[in-house]
């Protein structure tokens, strides 16, 4: 399929999606389906459930693109937020899945040849930033974000008071932000 839309920004693509432009939805899918699927797969483990999660997330984009506000954040963030929410809901309904060990085939997995180079760079950048966090903070973020555990479940699992988990989670995400975006402080951030 020709990529006539390839020169447009993500946000412009979402604006077209909000006018029910199917080729814009296809373009957005081509840009973010790999990231969306990788995230869904990491959380729900099962390939076919991960596909369902991705489809549901992109259908949510299709239905509600007119509510996307570019000033509040990037389109890519929005897409991954939709994927994450659906994956976590699913894993909480199917409690047993996350007790399974991570399959080797998904933990390894070389990047596909067609994957955009910047996605790989972004992954390496975030993984590097995670390694810079103290172990306890990294563990909290990973269990919450990829494991789908709530704060209350983490308090129980890790044997720490809920209040401690809450402040550690805040500190951990704030620290990760400061590592990823050095020089930005609360309030000074923009979408540009």
């Amino acid at each position: 399929m020709p990529r006539e839309l390839a020169h447009l920004s993500d946000e412009a693509i979402v604006a077209l999606v909000s006018r029910s432009d199917e080729s814009a939805l296809a373009e957005l899918y081509d840009r973010y389906s790999s990231s969306a699927y990788a995230l869904a797969r990491r959380i729900v483990r099962d390939p076919s459930l991960a596909s369902d999660v991705v489809q549901e997330a992109f259908l949510a984009v299709w239905r509600s693109a007119d509510r996307f506000v570019p000033e509040r954040g990037r389109a890519s963030t929005w897409v991954l937020t939709l994927v994450h929410r659906r994956a976590v809901d699913l894993v909480r309904r199917e409690e047993r899945r996350r007790a399974d060990p991570l399959d080797d085939d998904q933990a390894g997995g070389a990047p596909s040849a067609e994957e955009a180079a910047w996605l790989q760079l972004e992954r390496e950048r975030v993984q590097e930033a995670l390694r810079e966090l103290p172990d306890q903070q990294r563990e909290l973020l990973e269990l919450a974000y990829y494991g789908g555990f709530t704060q209350s479940q983490l308090a129980e699992r890790l044997g720490r008071p809920l209040g401690t988990i809450k402040s550690q989670m805040y500190t951990a995400l704030r620290n990760l932000r400061d590592i990823l975006e050095p020089g930005t402080k609360e309030g000074s951030w923009t979408t540009s």
Binding site: Y29, L39, S64, Y145, T150, K166, M169
Partner: protein, 217 residues
């Protein structure tokens, strides 16, 4: 919970790590806290960065066509409604940013109650965001946002209000504050549609003043 502790929840919210009741409480706080809104914009980006760090995996090639076919099917549902719907959808969407009111729900409520080409009338509401939608055959549906989540042991009840009488028109509950409700009885000319909060199971006559009322139809 005091404001500082509530503020701290912004990280867990960005990570989808709140219990459902905590999440609703935080969303109520967020709606009126510019500081949390600003910080959510930042921490939401950071949480999504974790998404980009997941081990690479490629979606099955057939998923693309499956998605586009599903999207196309939804659009054909919505298109017949669009001319009259474009305004209320946009207006509701503007106020229901935290509520999961998608076009799919709207179309779903109406598809079961109206035929494709039937003219639809939309009537404004007082007391909540949303719209009363009426078909030419006087069947009605309420699409609501901004309600309080249904308290334990209670139900919302819809009414068709006519001079001197109130006719029960269906029970519903909401956790998000949004709801789409097909009314169980027709809405005659001159009636008002109202919503009250009643004890679970519903009542045969409203026990208080309606929380939500439509304009006279």
């Amino acid at each position: 919970m005091d404001d500082e502790l509530m503020h701290e929840q912004v990280a867990a919210y960005a990570l989808d790590a709140l219990e459902p009741d905590e999440e609703r409480a935080f969303e109520r706080h967020l709606a009126q806290c510019p500081r949390c809104q600003a910080e959510l914009a930042e921490l939401g980006e950071t949480a999504a960065s974790l998404g980009f760090a997941a081990p690479p995996a490629s979606p099955p090639p057939e998923l693309r066509d499956r998605l586009l076919a599903a999207a196309r099917a939804e659009r054909s549902n919505v298109v017949t409604l669009r001319p009259r719907w474009a305004y209320p959808v946009a207006a509701l969407a503007a106020v229901a940013s935290c509520a999961a009111v998608g076009l799919g729900i709207w179309a779903g409520v109406l598809d079961s109650r109206t035929s494709g080409g039937e003219a639809l009338q939309t009537v404004p509401l007082h007391g909540a965001s949303g719209t009363l939608v009426l078909s030419g055959g006087r069947r009605g549906a309420l699409v609501l946002a901004g309600l309080a989540p249904t308290p334990r042991g209670k139900t919302y009840e819809a009414w068709v209000l006519l001079p001197g009488k109130a006719l029960p028109a269906g029970l519903f509950a909401t956790r998000s504050g949004a709801a789409s409700v097909s009314l169980t009885r027709p809405v005659p000319h001159g009636a008002v549609v109202g919503v009250t909060l009643e004890r679970a199971g519903g009542v045969s006559a409203p026990t208080g003043k309606p929380l939500v009322t439509s304009a006279r139809v």
